[in-house]
Amino acid sequence: MAELAATGTFAPRPGAAPLTRQVLAQAGMEARLMLRNGEQLLLALVIPVIVLLAGVTGGDRIDLADALDLEGRLVDVLTPGVLALAVMSTSFTSLAIATGFERRYGVIKRLGASPLPRTGLLAGKVLALLVVVLVQLFVIGGVGQLLGWTPQPGVLGFMLAIVLGCAAFASLGLFVAGVLRAEATLAAANLIYLLLLAGGAVVLPVSAYGGFGDVARWLPSGALGEAMRTALLDGGTGWRDLGVLAAWAVLGTGLTARTFTWE
């Protein structure tokens, strides 16, 4: 029997869109959803900006820079730290929560039946992450400038800090989302974020933590914070901190590869 003539509204005409178009669509969607969601936006922009504003204006009043024995002006120390915080919040907390609920709501299962391959989905997530981080850099950097921030950018160190920071935290975020239920992921990702914000040497330098600083510099938060400060305070490249981030990225990727299931 011959094929039925392909006429009619619903006549089959299957085919996958080019992979780049699929990945861009996925990235655009994820970035949009992240920037539209109130809680995610709070995490991505509002909290970092408040930390920066409060840290700089309040810190100036109580001479925080002197009290913590910081090298350089307070705004120059805090802005790179807050940028590191923003990278952490997006690539760890937001990614973990979003992925946890995507699994829960069957989004990943649904997209699994579309032509978008798993690698394309992952690429879309990474791209969305970088878009959101870029928005954060502009907003936080802008607020920093208004407060008088004068960075000494070391482009290589800065770029590597962002890329390796995203990789380390994203792999850990996916690990959490993969092993816990959606609600538990939500709780754990927020709790870890708060603990690292307070004690992880991300906003304030390792030197401000006394003895604990020696521990904090091996945490992904401390390493990212230090790498950012090295890049933006001195224009240097903090190779040791970048190495720590790379090690966390390898560890997180290994854990995720072993445990993660998409559904």
Partner: protein, 322 residues
Amino acid sequence: MPEFPAVSVSGLVMEYAGKRAVDGLDLEVARHSITAVLGPNGAGKTTTLETCEGYRRPHAGSVRVLELDPIRDRRALLPRIGVMLQGQGAWSGVRAMEMLRHVARMHAHPLDVEMLADRLGLESCGRTPYRRLSGGQQQRLGLAMAIVGRPELVFVDEPTAGMDPQARRTTWELLRELRGDGVTVVLTTHYLDEAEQLADNVHIIDRGRMIASGTPLELTRGGNSATIRLVVTRPFPPGAPESLRATLGERIEVTRLDERSLVVTGPADGSTLARVSRWCEEHDVLPESLILGRRSLEDVFLEITGRPLAAADDTIEEALRG
């Protein structure tokens, strides 16, 4: 080119925690047809469908979809099939049309999304976030996402669950139009009327096994010729089915559907009807309705499994609760 079946399943076995959800199932789906897989909840319908969609690996047996292996040839197969899952499948904050457009972008030659939304009555809720859509709207969006890529074959799992009668009819019309345009449709349902009205072929599954296959006409024509349904005003006295069966003779089967209704199957005719009526009189039972009718798919299910489809559903629910 010889016409190959759209779906060919043979000897499929799926096990979960030592229990067989699918137990040696054979199933063939002709192209350009609507095929209904009918059965109670937990019969293995969704598991079978998800194996065809490449979500699950068969524990034994083989599955071919459009002549491809759903696992090994997944990338080649996915653009050619459309999948409607049972519920969910979208971000909670995504708007209805935004989601449909998103899925459309994954395909090379998608349908016009505005037209599709219009056909499925989604235009009024296009900007509504997914979590605020009604169950029926979510179902219709799910169907739209399944067909937007212009697939050759669509799998729709319980497509009209939670829909109002109007939306059900619209959905049936759309599925018929898909078939008319050359799309093969495989649907699962536990609604008998849906299978009877919509499907070219019906496969009845129970406890992971295929218990009957054929066109609705073949299924309802074969075997015994008629049924009598009796509904009474007050609950039956104890032992009513047995007593009625004794009155009617060996070749007639009497099955209690619930406390106020039963069904008589077998070579039932006018005189059987009269005897049922006389039995009611003798046992002081007042009929509310007494209907002699053609066999329905419900009766087929009842004859083969010895229990009504609705009761089979209850059994599963009880099992899940217990």
